[in-house]
């Protein structure tokens, strides 16, 4: 029988249909660590952080301000001020700021809750002692944040330290943006993340969340 000229087009669509059906079934049967929502929840910001949105690397570190102090409310300048002083003011008043290794240790000793934004498998391999698992890319993030809030009951002005793998990892920034949307205004991003914590030989735990 002669092949229909339409058959390649039908095959083309059939391949896409097969892929879509397989994706639907596989995702429906996937474990929570592998499951992905077809639509992200509206409360999960995914805007790519541009360099100008990133907090300055020394924000908070050299300002002489305690890492646990809530961000100062910016007051309108009474007169012309130096740009450097203005930048420090903005950094100190930012609800999300990066903190150094020493500041993260200070926060840990003060009992500030730590949120681990890495994947669940990485958390199981090792995490900051007492940290809460909040993997931004996994579908049960909402439930995990709810259980964290129920257990720790953080107020909007209470400090929360968020970390991931340091370096170029942006998961902690995504989680901070998410918490900021929920009304939390004192979010400290541990810039160097878990590799630094491990390198400093600070308390670590292993195991599933």
């Amino acid at each position: 029988m002669a092949p229909s000229p339409r058959s390649p087009a039908l095959h083309f669509l059939a391949l896409a249909g097969l892929a879509a059906a397989a994706a639907l079934i596989a995702n429906a049967l996937a474990s929570p660590a592998r499951h992905l929502a077809w639509r992200r929840s509206a409360a999960a910001p995914l805007a790519f952080p541009s360099p100008t949105e990133r907090p300055g690397p020394q924000a908070g570190a050299d300002s002489g301000q305690s890492v646990l102090a809530p961000p100062a409310r910016p007051a309108p300048p009474p007169g012309p001020s130096r740009p450097a002083a203005r930048a420090e003011e903005v950094a100190a008043s930012s609800p999300i700021r990066e903190i150094s290794s020493g500041e993260a240790w200070e926060a840990f000793k003060s009992g500030v809750p730590f949120l681990d934004a890495r994947r669940r498998a990485e958390f199981a391999e090792g995490h900051v002692a007492g940290a809460w698992c909040a993997p931004v890319w996994e579908s049960d993030l909402d439930e995990r944040l709810l259980s964290f809030k129920a257990a720790r009951r953080p107020g909007p002005e209470d400090a929360i330290v968020i970390y991931c793998s340091g370096g170029e990892c942006r998961d902690s920034h995504l989680l901070a943006a998410r918490l900021l949307d929920e009304g939390y205004g004192h979010l400290l991003i541990y810039r160097d993340g878990f590799p630094d914590w491990l390198g400093q030989k600070r308390p670590v735990e292993t195991g599933q969340p």
Partner: protein, 161 residues
């Protein structure tokens, strides 16, 4: 040259090679959709609403196309899909290279942490590889088209083993 490019043994080797590469690329992504979603997001090119559907669909499309090529079924349609996917991957890499935005390719699943300079070098290699594979996919599409033109009424698909 044309006869060489359309030689059945070369077409068969291309089909199997491309099929195996697509299978190898699909499996790690199917095993970890959140990791692939993160890789897509890191390109900084896609609107947020599109990231999860892409992360769920693309690996399965790669898998069915890879299987079709390896089994020699629906070769023309599979080669066309492979060409479209490879063109899209190449464009994404080229745009990020042009704007100096270092990204992990994510082509074969998540990769280990690398410095920005290492990632830029990896992106150049990945772009070269994707363009090479695109040429193979185009050759496969062309050969299946020629085969159908030359033998109307006979087997329309690419060379069979």
């Amino acid at each position: 040259m044309r006869r060489l490019l359309l030689h059945p043994k070369l077409v068969l080797a291309t089909r199997i090679l491309l099929g195996l590469i697509f299978l190898a690329a699909a499996l790690p992504k199917i095993a970890d959709p959140p990791g692939f979603a993160k890789a897509i997001w890191a390109y900084g090119l896609f609107p947020p609403w599109s990231i999860n559907p892409l992360a769920l669909l693309l690996p399965w499309l790669e898998l069915v196309c890879g299987l079709a090529l390896c089994l020699g079924r629906w070769t023309r349609a599979a080669a066309l899909w492979c060409s479209i996917l490879l063109l899209a991957f190449s464009l994404a890499l080229a745009i990020d290279l042009a704007r100096q935005h270092p990204t992990d390719c994510g082509c074969f699943g998540s990769s280990s942490q690398r410095s920005e300079a290492e990632r830029m070098v990896d992106m150049r290699w990945a772009l070269g590889r994707d363009l090479g594979l695109l040429l193979l996919a185009i050759q496969l599409s062309w050969s299946s088209l020629r085969r159908q033109d030359r033998r109307p009424g006979s087997e329309p698909e690419g060379a069979r083993p």
